[in-house]
Symmetry: C2
Subunit: 198 residues, 2 copies
């Protein structure tokens, strides 16, 4: 006696979600099938729609439905500043502070050799191309203050400096080990204002 194969397939499929092991996958599958088939159908549709719709902004690499995201398309932003963040959520957090008016570059990750994430897995080549376009004067590195975020920052700073760019790092107003996502906008604004030259 085993679970029916379509149920087993659903449980296996749910394990692609980060932080979801066999136990949670099983609980999720039963919940979807037994208590929320409408929500389940909607989830399937949302996944397919997002895959079909979302691409990376040609300039900043964040997720967007068009060729250029709203920010990159905004002529009123300061095109001489380029803020480098790990994830789109970090970009949204910085936007909420209203303390930054330049453009962004979203790495979609951070260097993490142990997880197999090297320079090729984050969009480093595209960032460099972007940073030396002649318009960018200052690169503000706003990766997280985690071990991996810091390593990424140092690696980026080195690359930028050898290309003659001015590089700064948002200030360590964030707690050590802290992530942008978990900090209040005021602290984050302060960290932007007090960015250090690297």
């Amino acid at each position: 006696m085993k679970a029916p194969s379509s149920l087993e397939q659903l449980i296996q499929a749910l394990k692609v979600l980060p932080g979801v092991g066999p136990k949670s996958a099983s609980r999720m599958a039963y919940h979807l099938l037994q208590r929320d088939q409408g929500g389940a159908a909607n989830l399937a549709h949302a996944i397919e729609y997002a895959i079909a719709t979302l691409k990376h902004c040609r300039r900043c690499n964040t997720f967007t439905e068009g060729e250029l995201c709203e920010i990159c398309a905004d002529e009123d932003r300061n095109h001489q500043q380029l803020c480098v963040v790990e994830m789109p959520t970090d970009l949204l957090m910085i936007e909420q502070t209203l303390a930054y008016h330049g453009l962004y570059f979203v790495l979609m990750g951070r260097l993490s050799p142990l997880d197999g994430i090297g320079p090729n897995e984050i969009a480093l080549a595209r960032l460099l191309e972007r940073a030396v376009d002649g318009e960018v004067q200052e690169v503000v590195i706003a990766t997280n203050f985690t071990v991996e975020g810091e390593a990424t920052a140092h690696y980026l700073a080195e690359l930028m400096r050898t290309r003659g760019l001015q590089v700064s790092r948002i200030a360590r107003g964030l707690p050590v080990g802290g992530e942008l996502e978990h900090v209040d906008p005021g602290t984050l604004a302060q960290a932007l204002v007090e960015r250090r030259k690297l």
Copy 2:
């Protein structure tokens, strides 16, 4: 500036999963889109396939792809015993013991008034119909030994007894290989109260 709407929709849709709040939903969405689009497409398909394929066994209420599950269709099982469990996973656990050869009834939940799960949300009416079919002689209640599982067991036992059925409850006690030193006082107390004559 907000996330693109198809990304926002995906994050919202992921929140139907039990135990997934806004933060995890966001992390899951980025992971699916950035690191595992194949797994994401597969998940969408598995959800749709499971919804389309799975139904409840006409006799025992577990998930099955046919009208009757393998166990209910098995003529060699003891049709006079009916074991009541909360979820299909519980049924699979009992099957693994090879210690039970009767049939099952799967409630697909347990009474939990605080979560809005009353007698109508679990398949009580169908269980009663099944239990009084003339064939069933003994009902073995194997709901969990949680507060809610116990309450469900007492409620069921009462219903069954008034219908003249013999009702039993799986035993509580120390695990096989268990040491008194490592068991909680409540379990040990129950093991003493429910001691068997040798």
